[in-house]
């Protein structure tokens, strides 16, 4: 009985990080899609109304949730005097679960928004949204295999540990 319990605990110990990783990855993919949708909504709003950044950020904040909402909220245009829009955008980026290409693209967007004409900004929003969507799609397709790999590796390692230790 003790051995069975030990084996279960060992297996769980090895599977737990894999489950956490899979859950995190799933959230990341959902977030990429959420950002893509939000940027596309921003582009439409900007193109139709040509509104100021203040209005745009407010709309984006109202239409999003979680970390993305917190991101839009943290850019305060009444603090432009202390920190430029780009600096605020860059700092706020740190709280987003982005890395590699997505982080670089999102940071680049902050250099363009509010600084260029409407067309340039709309094009940038569109291309970044599209890229985020592509990445999320591509990684989403690979996700089941990745999930299987993580679970198999963790279970195998757990089994090996059970065999060796018990």
């Amino acid at each position: 009985m003790r051995k069975v319990l030990g084996a279960i605990l060992l297996l769980s110990g090895f599977l737990f990080p894999a489950v956490v990783h899979i859950r995190e990855r799933k959230r990341q993919l959902q977030f990429l899609e959420e950002v893509a949708l939000s940027l596309e909504a921003l582009r439409r709003h900007l193109m139709l109304n040509g509104c100021t950044m203040e209005v745009l950020l407010e709309e984006a904040e109202n239409a999003s949730s979680g970390v993305l909402q917190a991101f839009y909220h943290s850019i305060q245009l009444d603090r432009l005097d202390e920190q430029s829009f780009q600096v605020q955008w860059k700092n706020a980026c740190k709280q987003l679960p982005l890395e590699g290409e997505t982080e670089r693209l999102f940071l680049q967007l902050g250099q363009i928004l509010g600084q260029y004409d409407l067309e340039e900004q709309c094009n940038s929003l569109h291309s970044v949204a599209l890229r985020f969507h592509d990445i999320s799609q591509r990684e989403g397709e690979q996700f089941p295999q990745e999930q299987k790999l993580w679970l198999t590796l963790s279970a195998s390692a757990g089994m090996l540990a059970v065999i060796l230790l018990l």
Partner: protein, 296 residues
């Protein structure tokens, strides 16, 4: 908050602090890349702003910062005005821009590099046009042309007459404010007092603006700043033919000078105005001389 304090909000902190310690009655703030930050006082003299006894050199970043603050990080929303070389600001102040412009098919489409900014501080002047107001609005409204060389206060007098006409005489006025210099609309609210019954059309070419106002706002008086083109006169003429009195400004020293300039010659030939107000400066004081225009 003084007008200077209000306008200085658009400056980077280091320049703002220096300007307060240099002067309290600045009329204009000049920022030129690579050169010293300077101010023009109300007396018209340009002074260098000092910080710890040293002139402050303006950087390209300073200019970018001012534009970011002035546009609230929304270049696109102010692009049209920026291409015209100026930006109306909250409080009625105005940011003038100079630099390398991007031109496509003869039209300015943007600014490549900024080289200079001029922040003009609005100082509302009230109570200067009471007597002129009486001659324009007392009794039947009289079509009036305000005439003076540049810098003598035509726009200030026009604004004041609009306020008097609207506030004291209850006249419904339509103002075609192409460059936003008279009412200085900010988010739809006039930053300068042009009276409670004045409808402002901002950013629209004067000629089209006058006709739009005429058609849509049923004004009892149409006002326009700086008649400069033949189309303006055509629009004024159309308005006059509809029986709407006019109030406008033009550059010129005298009626005699105006008669010798082809554009204004037409204006006078068509008898669009019944009286002219000549603005003159005598021993540092502005004087307003109202003259009747004899029909051509």
């Amino acid at each position: 908050m003084t007008p200077l304090e209000q306008a200085a909000i658009f400056l980077p902190a280091r320049l703002r602090n220096a300007v307060f310690s240099t002067c309290k009655d600045a009329e204009e703030l000049h920022l030129r890349v690579g050169r010293s930050f300077s101010i023009t006082t109300r007396e018209g003299t340009e002074r260098t702003v000092l910080s710890d006894g040293q002139p402050m050199t303006v950087s390209a970043d300073d200019l970018r910062k001012v534009v970011e603050l002035a546009t609230c990080a929304s270049y696109h929303a102010a692009a049209q005005r920026l291409c015209q070389g100026f930006l109306p600001l909250k409080g009625g102040h105005r940011l003038g821009l100079a630099g390398t412009m991007s031109v496509q098919k003869g039209e300015i489409i943007g600014i490549q590099h900024l080289s200079s900014l001029c922040l003009r501080i609005a100082h509302p002047i009230m109570g200067i046009g009471e007597a002129v107001g009486q001659s324009v609005f007392g009794g039947e409204i009289t079509s009036t042309l305000l005439l003076s060389p540049p810098g003598l206060g035509k726009t200030t007098l026009l604004r004041e007459l609009l306020r008097i006409g609207s506030q004291t005489y209850g006249v419904r006025i339509g103002l075609a404010d192409e460059r936003g210099e008279v009412a200085a609309l900010w988010n739809g609210v006039p930053q300068m007092d042009v009276g409670p019954t004045t409808d402002v059309l901002d950013g629209c070419p004067k000629a089209e603006g006058l006709l739009l106002l005429l058609r849509s706002m049923s004004p009892q008086l149409l006002a326009v700043d700086e008649i400069t083109a033949a189309e303006d006169i055509t629009a004024l003429s159309m308005a006059a033919n509809c029986g709407v009195p006019l109030l406008a400004t033009a550059h010129g020293k005298s009626m005699e000078e105006l008669r010798h300039r082809p554009l204004y010659c037409r204006l006078l030939e068509e008898n669009l105005f019944r009286q002219v107000v000549l603005i003159q400066r005598k021993s540092g004081q502005r004087h307003y001389c109202v003259e009747e225009i004899h029909l051509a």
